[in-house]
Amino acid sequence: MSSNIAALADEGRVEIDHVSIRFTSKKGDHLALAETRLQLEPGTFTALIGPSGCGKSTLLNALAGFVEPTAGQIRIDGRPVDGPGPNVGVVFQQYALFPWFTALGNVKFALQRFGLGKTELHERAMAALAEVGLETQADKFPGQLSGGMKQRVGIARTLAYEPKVLLMDEPFGALDAQTRREMHDLLLRVWEKHKATVLFVTHDVDEALLLADHVHVLSRAPGRIIRSYDLSASRPRAISRDFPDLLDTREEILALLKPEPAEDRGDVASVS
């Protein structure tokens, strides 16, 4: 595509420097994220995985500049984050579509920074919608879309924008398996083209293993990173015998996420 801001391989370094986040309310303090140190190299794909309520969304919100860390500092390319900015694209857990724009209008909004002509703007936006399989829904308003459709519009919008750092909070949670697979392909395609730094929150271990270079597992609340994995398998990957490392890592992560002494209740999709 026309812009190549994100193509500079040394842009998009994210440093999470001794960050912890605490919410205060009338009933006292609540540590949402325990002290966390993490560095994301430019152009890498990192997945975060952890139990519900452990602070994943909170960490993402801090990276995006929406929430201020209680302690520590977050830097992007050396500059401390002090608010939301154009360098960091976010796919929101709650979609965050503008209800006053159609699906197409929402995507166009993101494309306007490229200063395109009217026809090109329209064509690029339609192309972005087509990539998420919604070209026929372009004129619908968010209120008329199904849950999964809204999520895909949100994805199309953020990807079209080509940010240097891309934060995604359970972006595929409301999608069926097939659509989800298509979205995986799309995401990897876009990522390889623009080499954005991606941080991806998911509940699906397989998804993390299929997509990421690095997987970090968080503890129960208050979350902190308890294990990290580097995945070097080439893409496209599959969770199968062809990728034995991935299968091993999968077992390990699943065991980590189980809080009790791992009693085998047999309801895990235990691959033989």
Binding site: P86, G89, G143
Partner: protein, 277 residues
């Protein structure tokens, strides 16, 4: 005076109204066309009854028939239309001035901290001061001509529109601003494509209120320096104890206000259409 519609989950044509758990038949018969009619028949019936009972003299609580004939009389001698024209043009001018200033100021106090800090306490203080109390001041400042009338009307409209716009601006859901800023929108674009649409329901609620207030303050505005207009005619009818005319004029004011309100409401619904889908 709030008219914020929440986006309902299902919407659509066949979405079941969950609100009135009433026999469907009753609700069906009382469709939107029949509704005002039924209401007016009932009100008229009660009114006729009360005035027929003669608990108060006709000169003080006139019968619907004498009000109707007062109405006809004003129609006949042309006063009706000339008053209507002049009052509507006063209300419209005052409204346009007040509403544009109100929206502009609301945008400023809602979005710029320095201006908010300086002006809000002052505005809060102004709000409980009624327009009638300002009429003498208005006359001193703007003269006995149309100026003072515009001032009185636009003062009231301004405060209300400002208040609504201000709050609409202030309480824009963070999520929209976050999305916009993360998508690298310039401040200008954020303002016109995000802030304004997000605040639009509130702004429209304020404008709708402002329209009502423009008519409400007509009477106060036309107290001085007017020799025509609905407000003046009301004064005059009072001077000459023409209660029948007074009622006719009050009804005129009510109908006029209701019509304009409906139009504004319809326009608002069209513009802020996404609230209902």
């Amino acid at each position: 005076m709030v008219d914020i519609r929440e986006t309902s989950a299902a919407g659509g044509a066949s979405s079941r109204r969950v609100v009135p758990r009433l026999p469907a038949l009753v609700a069906g018969v009382m469709g939107s066309v029949a509704s005002p009619l039924i209401s007016f028949v009932i009100v008229l019936a009660i009114w006729s009854l009360v005035s027929a009972l003669k608990v108060v003299p006709d000169a003080i609580f006139p019968s619907p028939w004498s009000v109707a004939s007062a109405f006809a009389e004003m129609m006949e001698n042309g006063v009706f239309f000339s008053d209507l024209g002049i009052s509507v043009s006063r209300a419209a001018t005052g409204f346009v001035i007040g509403a544009s200033l109100g929206v502009a100021m609301g945008v400023l106090t809602g979005r710029v901290a320095v201006i908010r800090t300086v002006l809000n306490p002052f505005m809060t203080l102004l709000r409980p001061i009624p327009a009638i109390a300002l009429v003498p001041v208005a006359i001193v400042w703007f003269g006995i001509g149309e100026g003072s009338k515009y001032f009185v009307i636009s003062y009231t409209v301004f405060l209300t529109v400002w208040f609504n716009t201000h709050h609409g601006m202030e309480y824009i859901p963070d999520i929209y601003l976050r999305a916009s800023q993360s998508l690298g929108a310039s401040r200008l674009r954020e303002f016109f494509q995000v802030v304004i649409p997000a605040a639009a329901p509130h702004i429209f609620a304020g404008i709708r209120l402002g329209v009502a207030l423009a008519f409400l303050s007509l009477v106060a505005a036309e107290l001085s320096g007017a020799s025509s207009g609905i407000g003046y005619r009301l004064q005059e009818s009072r001077q000459y104890i023409r209660t029948d005319r007074m009622f006719a004029l009050l009804i005129e004011l009510g109908v006029l206000g209701a019509i304009v309100d409906t139009i504004v409401h319809r326009i608002g619904k069209r513009i802020v259409h996404w609230q209902q889908s």
